[in-house]
């Protein structure tokens, strides 16, 4: 009984529960025949939201007002430039990855420069930055679709032991993030800054350094997601990131990370990402129109937060 209570006090349980219910409702339509296909598809596509969500979570953990709206533009720029750079050659895969990461680093530096040097609130700073990055993406390849190297295309679209490779990548990144947040000094620092920046400063935490690294990390993860997404969908498109603006925020908050900062939650991102994909699949499967589908999505999000909300942040 007590264990059950403890379980339900976990912030991530609600997103997992919601994802499971919807998964079940969807496979029931075909009497279970679609179980494997749906699960694989959900894992594959959730992987992208997970990767960008992780980065966004680090930023949101930094406290109220911290958010990165440049995620979609970064994905686009990294995807387009990396694919152009690799030019369909398998030998260029790693240099291409390095280029994507470098783009992430550059965007992260730009973001934090605006926030710190010009004192622009993060929400506006990253929005402005995203316009510039988007322009850079347009300028570099003008929307041409270049195919990914064949090895990468195969890797991103296939599975290992039935688990999509992308989900494995997301899992590795999640474990890394979890380790960083829970076990490292840096993780403590982020959480402290998120609870109170003045207190963190007075406790001797290098606040600017930590925030800077966090914004860079978020941009790098976005760039990585862009790189993978471009390879997965057979080429980069100028609008390929747009979906991930609201998505990256939604999966973080539905996953149980405190919007007020200081408290992050890695497992919740998985639940929320699967949930966001499955909701659309379910409503498509039931043949509901776009209007109804949107309304249901919204109501489900609100119900999840209503069920999970009102909880006191757990002692740690």
């Amino acid at each position: 009984m007590n264990a059950l209570v403890r379980l339900f006090s976990r912030p991530w349980i609600w997103s997992w529960g919601a994802a499971f219910v919807i998964w079940f409702a969807t496979i029931m339509v075909t009497g279970g025949a679609s179980t494997l296909g749906l699960t694989q598809a959900a894992l594959t596509f959730a992987a992208f939201s997970i990767i960008v969500g992780l980065g966004q979570m680090f930023v949101i953990t930094l406290g109220p007002g911290n958010i990165d709206l440049s995620v979609p533009a970064t994905m686009t720029l990294a995807g387009t430039v990396a694919l152009k750079f690799m030019n369909v050659e398998n030998g260029m895969i790693l240099p291409g990855l390095a280029v994507a990461v470098l783009i992430g680093v550059a965007v992260g530096i730009g973001n934090y420069a605006l926030i710190k040097a010009l004192r622009i609130p993060p929400i506006i700073a990253t929005l402005s930055m995203s316009f510039i990055v988007q322009s850079a993406a347009i300028w570099t390849n003008r929307g041409l679709r270049i195919k990914p190297p064949s090895f990468l295309a195969d890797f991103t679209t296939s599975a290992t032991l039935g688990v999509p490779n992308l989900a494995l990548v997301a899992l590795a990144l999640s474990l890394l993030s979890w380790l960083v947040l829970e076990k490292t000094v840096y993780g403590r620092w982020i959480s402290a800054i998120g609870q109170s920046m003045p207190a963190a400063r007075m406790a001797g935490i290098p606040v600017d350094g930590v925030r800077f690294i966090t914004y860079v990390f978020c941009a790098v993860l976005a760039a990585l997601a862009g790189y993978l997404l471009a390879c997965f969908s057979g080429g980069a498109a100028l609008n390929m990131g747009s979906e991930y603006l609201l998505m990256s925020i939604a999966v973080v908050v539905i996953g149980g990370t405190a919007v007020a900062g200081g408290d992050s939650n890695v497992p919740g991102i998985w639940g929320a990402s699967l949930f966001m994909f499955l909701v659309v699949s379910m409503l498509n499967t039931y043949g509901l129109g776009a209007g109804i589908r949107l309304i249901m999505t919204g109501l489900i999000i609100i119900s999840v937060i209503l069920l999970a909300g009102g909880r006191k942040p757990g002692a740690r």
Binding site: A33, L38, L238, G291
Partner: protein, 323 residues
């Protein structure tokens, strides 16, 4: 020193602007490039004084309306518009007309009566897909429909045409419908999500730009490949070609050529020139079939879209045809 290209009034002092609401995909980029190429030559030749292209930061009717109002202030003689909404720009377009400016809309057309429209028959674009499928698959069967962006005019029109087609050929049934937002990756994701719960699909009807994504999603789960109606992106055509070479895969491609912006340019120039032009013009959509696939693929730039650019003569023909 310019050649006399027109027998009527001179437009060499006129300025034309392109109002564009979105630049985020290869179709729009091709559209802008065609515009730049064709109008650049026209300006050099002294046909018009200027032909500037403007794109809004975000794909929103409100921003485009502001952009049009700015163009009025900038003193353009004609504005060529690819409209974000057929009706939401009417206020701004009316202001332009009142200021004596010629307004020509294309692709995304505007319903304001004072503007000219170069329309594609989107309904027919949808219907013809089913007609084509009925020729290929006499027994009919289940179809998957990939729609565009919800709430947008073009999406509604093409989808209406598709459903009209299904009524006409009742052996077909739309078993599932998803919104792919005219984007490869979104379509891929949506299809992958609904596919596991669908019965066998014999055909996929699309709105262009999303065929390759659908093919990828279907290939990923190892289902038999249905007939996917393609758009005009190079990757779609290339995939089709590969399949054709490998197993004789047959399909078709319908789309609207991004170069239609140049047609709109010439039409605007003709109107400024004093030519009497009907308010509603129609351009045929671009259709690629099994036999002219290779030819089209050859002229399509790598990573770009199949395109047709128009000349002044083409414009004159279209204008004549309407009269």
């Amino acid at each position: 020193a310019a050649m006399p290209v027109s027998a009527l009034a001179d437009t060499s002092g006129k300025k034309i602007a392109l109002s564009n609401n979105y630049a985020g995909n290869s179709w729009r980029q091709a559209m802008l490039e065609s515009w730049e190429k064709v109008t650049g030559e026209a300006v050099k030749a002294g046909v018009v004084a200027a032909a500037d292209a403007f794109t809004t930061a975000e794909n929103q009717a409100t921003e485009q309306a502001a952009q049009i109002q700015n163009m009025i202030l900038q003193g353009y003689d004609a504005i060529v518009i690819n409209a974000a909404s057929p009706t939401a720009l009417n206020g701004a377009i009316k202001e332009a007309c009142d200021a004596g400016i010629t307004v020509v809309s294309f692709d995304g057309i505007a319903t304001e009566p004072c503007a000219w429209r170069i329309a594609v028959d989107f309904k027919e674009m949808g219907r013809s897909q089913i007609e084509f499928l009925s020729g290929k698959l006499a027994d009919g069967g289940n179809l998957l429909e990939i729609r565009g962006l919800a709430g947008v005019f073009v999406d509604d029109e093409i989808s209406g045409g598709i459903h009209a087609g299904v009524e006409q050929f009742p052996q077909f049934k739309v078993a599932g419908s998803v919104h792919g937002d005219w984007a490869q990756d979104v379509a891929q994701k949506a299809v992958a999500g609904i596919l596991p719960s669908l019965p066998e699909i014999v055909g996929v009807v699309t709105q262009g730009g999303d065929g390759y994504g659908a093919a990828q999603a279907i290939a990923a789960v190892g289902r038999p490949m249905p007939v996917i109606v393609m758009g005009n992106r190079e990757d779609e055509l290339k995939w089709w070609k590969e399949q054709k070479d490998a197993n004789g895969y047959e399909t078709m491609s319908v789309s609207i050529a991004p170069g239609v912006s140049t047609l709109a340019f010439w039409v605007a120039q003709q109107i400024l020139d004093g030519k009497d032009v009907k308010k509603d013009l129609v351009v045929p959509f671009l259709r690629i079939d099994q036999d002219n696939l290779e030819a089209n693929l050859e002229t399509t730039p790598a990573g770009g879209v199949a395109n047709v650019e128009y000349s002044q003569d083409d414009a004159l023909q279209v204008i004549e045809a309407a009269n």
